[in-house]
Amino acid sequence: MYNGSILRNLDAIQIQEYQQNRYPWFFVDFIEEVLPGKYARGYKNFTYNEWFFPPHFEHKPIVPGCILIESLVQVLLMTFLTLYETKGKVATDAKCQAVFKREIKPGDRMDIVANLDSYKRGIAKGNSSGYVGGELACKAEYIITVPEIMLRFRPRI
């Protein structure tokens, strides 16, 4: 799986070595490629078996926006939780600005492309976009923290 600095073809079990999200809050099926510190590409298949479809909504199931935001960020996490100092650590969102372009229904596969703009001292900035059938479905910009690292630099007061 490891080829130089690029990671390829990570399945759900391997992805969980790098991030702490777990079922039912785990929304990446496969990571096709990661260049740590730079970018990640992966996808999520949304089947009708997902726990959120029956209540959202009974007669018109669509993926909730918060799940889309989480799917996008979980691919973005791979861009920096694959770095040596952060591997497997808990990461939390500090800021998110999202845009939704189309509804995502049971049977859709969302391809996700994430780019890391910067990572320093436990603060990551980046963006992530989701595509269905090659069409942009949603995108978001994030600031994410790795509290265990960031809080080492908190001022003394």
Partner: protein, 78 residues
């Protein structure tokens, strides 16, 4: 611009305060200067002055005034 003006401008841009507010600002005194905001401030200061700050200095920089003292270590008089 003087170093003091440049230094002040970083606080103004990072936290959205006025120049006068910036000069007495302390960590956690405003909502924007929390632990995440602090990392944004440090990155902006490093990029603006072309330095890399040591961990102890990042932790010690708990106010506008304190930062002026710390910058002397980096041969920058503010």
């Amino acid at each position: 611009m003087t170093n003091l003006e440049i230094y002040t401008d970083v606080f103004v841009r990072t936290f959205g305060v006025t120049k006068e507010q910036a000069k007495t600002l302390k960590y956690q005194e405003i909502e924007a200067w929390d632990s995440v905001g602090h990392m944004g401030l440090i990155t902006a200061l490093e990029e603006t002055f072309g330095i890399t700050m040591e961990s102890d200095d990042i932790i010690d920089l708990s106010s506008f005034e304190k930062g002026r003292d710390i910058f002397k270590k980096y041969n920058i008089e503010i």
